[in-house]
Amino acid sequence: MKMPTPDASVLARRVEIANALRAIVPGEGVIVEQDEMRVYETDALTAYRQLPMIVVLPKTTEQVSQVLKYCNEIGIKVVPRGAGTSLSGGALPLADGIILGLGKFNKIMDIDYGNRTVTVQPGVTNLGITNAVAHEGFYYAPDPSSQIACTIGGNIAENSGGVHCLKYGLTTNNVLGIEMVLMNGDVVRLGGKHLDSDGYDLLGIMTGSEGLLGVVTEVTVRILKKPETLRAVLIGFPSSETGGDCVAAIIAAGIIPGGMEMMDKPAIHAAEEFVHAGYPLDVEAILIVELDGPEAEVDHLIGEVETIARKCGAVSIRVSSSEDERMVFWAGRKAAFPAVGRISPDYLCMDGTIPRKELPLVLNRMAEMSERHGLRVANVFHAGDGNLHPLILYDANKPGELQAAEDFGADILKLCVEVGGVLTGEHGVGVEKRDLMIHQFTETDMNQQQRVKCAFDPDGLLNPGKVFPQLHRCAELGRMHIHRGQLPFPDLPRF
């Protein structure tokens, strides 16, 4: 993966820049020692590593504003970073850029049950929000698997999902307001405790912008009351097709489960060997359907789901009869990634989304690809919303296997786009899928997106080299290709 060429003139001024940053962020907030910067050299996409030029850890919005303004004025690239759990390399440093770490923004500022909101600094973890309101029976709905570590600021950058988004939405549907700092140092507030922000939906475009548009310094999210009851059904199927049919039948019955997760045979076996969740081993796919809500509703729907599953040809059906049993059903699914890690030295986790009806086709084609690339693949799948997580098993110590795994992954994602889906459902493009963007978007489509960046960061200094395969200058994107004197379409009806 090619990153923007480091600017030698910037690197030559490293000491001077560090001193200027120290004037803004005093004390231990500026790090220049290689050993101390090592922890920042990668995120959860560990295949890529790069030491940054300098790490800055501001404590206040004012400091963030001054740091960005300074960097903007002298043309230094900035990579914002939360907890560094990005699976797509969103926080990968640049050799001639600074890492702006938001780890010190870790305070919960306001809990407002009357308005059902929590306002926090961006370095608070996803689970930290839920923990702060759990004693009153509330929670924050989006729950990415990394929720114990990932920060809410990072969730906004990536528009993180989780297993409950079919019913409760992604980050973008649960954030009400932010304070952010633009590259020029401007502090902008969007939204608040009210339900919709005014003017253009800049909160919507910020969410999922992967740190390319602004640095979030405060976040207001909505919280929900915990459902009264949660119960899960574990269903085994003789084929992925029948499992997929069952998902469609559940939705056709008007049921939107809190969670609906599917695993294929290799994933079932790996998970079962690891956590002994009691998964059936003689099936091709399992589906975990979790229903949450008022007790009477959950009891009613569990019965409906059982009936549907039977009609779809399920070979085993188990309904959780206790909270412990429900947790056991989930234990295997939640441990799927480390379980695969046990049976293979390395694995790549992909993240495409497809229209659900294409599942059988995609799984069959993936099996063919597996053979062609000579690598195994295990699948876990957010079945409700079509978000696939194929895990490609490889051994980085075997020459050529990493490349083969990456090629296999690219083939899977291209297939997702081919059947009407997208490259990434919840992990982000980052550097990982950057060069695949051309398979989903035309140059015109991408230019239209990149022009938004020109409004936020005209010099392209914030997290360059991520998301878009080609860096364009705003002047170049601004050009118009229309010439005067075109005939105004004679066949156009007018009145």
């Binding site: 049950y113 029976g137 939705i251 229209p355 919840e426 239209q448």
Partner: protein, 407 residues
């Protein structure tokens, strides 16, 4: 001379935009024109009437997704969804009668462009939360696509969000793809009568803080109860309403829970299916303010717990009436047409204290030309909004000035 351009398809619409760019002449984008008076009046010699860009592209109930040309009538799509017991969960309101026109005329593109949302907003979000992808023509005369057709998609910037609620000032939508959801099997409304505004907001907060999945919470003060036009409500007594939707046994169970929860606030009554649907449609479409069309109508979005305070503050200083949706977070306000500057100074001062915004929805052209229709923004945000417009529509071809002067 005013020209009325009426492209027959997306290709002609693209040509029309290219022509306008080459002539550097602004266009007013119109579907069926039901919300034409929403926003600031602006100068556009030419109208781009896209009403022929109509028709379903695909609807896959099992995939919970629908795609249609931008000017497809909403009513057509809702009828189709109804046949499959599905719906647009954000419950788009129909402002036709409120703005002096007919009901049932608006297009899906108009709904998205104005980011409409009905009473279910508290549970299901607004149009923006269901808008998955689109095809559009840019301010550079290029056809482009954005987003996709699947719910989970973080590939590139979420341009559909930016276009939703941009009132046609950033691009011309030609095709839109939306998420759809199952329609509830049944609906029932829990009613408590005779509460004052502040108590009603507390009651609605209690409901929204409960685990009983409230699908809407509204409060109609005594003076407006008759204007809802639902017989069971009568007139002259305030009504605080909590909507329950879902499967029969679940509604029964939750209704019982609310009867217990609200004991102490007054007697609890229920509206069954038909009157419930009529009640929530009236709340959604601002029916209490359809009559007396000379009154100015404002829409205020505030933190829900602030609702009663904001409304009381305004009513103490202006001849105004209000009712509440979204648990208090949405205030519909009608003010006397004679008030100074449409009441905007008083209204915005009241809203400004707790955060939120106020939009002037119904007023004569002259009033909308002199008042700020949309809430004035802080300097850094206004500058950013102007740069966003510049980035998407540098020649100011699309509805220029409809939201803010120069944008």
């Amino acid at each position: 001379m005013t020209t009325h351009l009426k492209p027959a398809d997306a290709a002609q619409a693209l040509e029309a935009v290219r022509w306008a760019i080459s002539e550097e002449t602004p266009l007013e984008l119109v579907g069926h024109g039901t919300k034409r008076t929403l926003g600031r009046p602006f100068q556009a010699t030419h109208t781009l009437d896209v009403s022929d860009l109509s028709g379903l592209k695909f609807y896959e109930p099992a995939e919970l997704v629908l795609s249609a040309q931008a000017a497809t009538p909403l009513a057509e799509l809702e009828a189709l969804l109804d046949e499959n017991r599905q719906q647009f969960a954000f419950e788009p309101p129909d402002f036709g009668p409120l703005l002096g026109g007919e009901a049932g005329k608006q297009t899906i593109g108009g709904v998205v462009s104005c980011n409409l949302a009905g009473p279910r907003r508290v549970k299901a979000g607004a149009a923006r939360d269901h808008f998955l992808g689109c095809k559009a023509v840019s301010g550079r005369g290029e056809a482009f696509k954005a987003g996709g057709r699947v719910v989970k998609n973080v590939t590139g910037y979420d341009l559909p969000k930016l276009l939703a609620g941009s009132y046609g000032t950033l691009a011309l939508l030609t095709e839109v793809t939306l998420k759809v959801l199952p329609a509830p099997e049944n609906t029932r409304t829990v009613l408590i009568r005779g509460l004052d505004d502040a108590t009603a907001i507390r009651v609605m907060a209690l409901a929204l803080q409960s685990p009983y999945e409230v699908a809407a919470a509204a409060h109609i003060p005594a003076a407006l109860a008759g204007g809802v036009g639902v017989e069971e409500l009568g007139s002259g007594v305030a009504a605080t309403a909590i909507r329950l939707e879902g499967f029969g046994p679940s509604i029964e169970y939750r209704a019982g829970k609310f009867r217990d929860l609200f004991r102490g606030f007054g007697s609890v009554e229920f509206l069954e299916l038909e009157p419930s649907l009529a009640f929530w449609a009236a709340v959604r479409d601002v029916k209490p303010f359809v009559a007396n069309p000379e009154r100015l109508v404002w829409r205020l979005s505030v933190p829900p717990a602030d609702g009663a305070r904001v409304a009381a503050d305004i009513a103490s200083r202006l001849p105004a009436e209000a009712y509440f949706d979204w648990g208090g977070g949405l205030i519909w306000l009608a003010v006397d047409p004679t008030v100074e500057r449409a009441g905007q100074d008083v209204i915005r001062e009241a809203v400004g204290l707790g955060g939120g915004h106020a939009t002037l929805i119904r007023a004569p052209d002259t009033v909308r030309a002199s008042a700020d229709v949309f809430h004035p923004q802080a300097a850094t945000l206004a500058a950013l909004s102007a740069r966003v417009k510049e980035s998407q529509d540098p020649k100011r071809i699309f509805n220029p000035g409809r939201m803010y002067a120069g944008v």
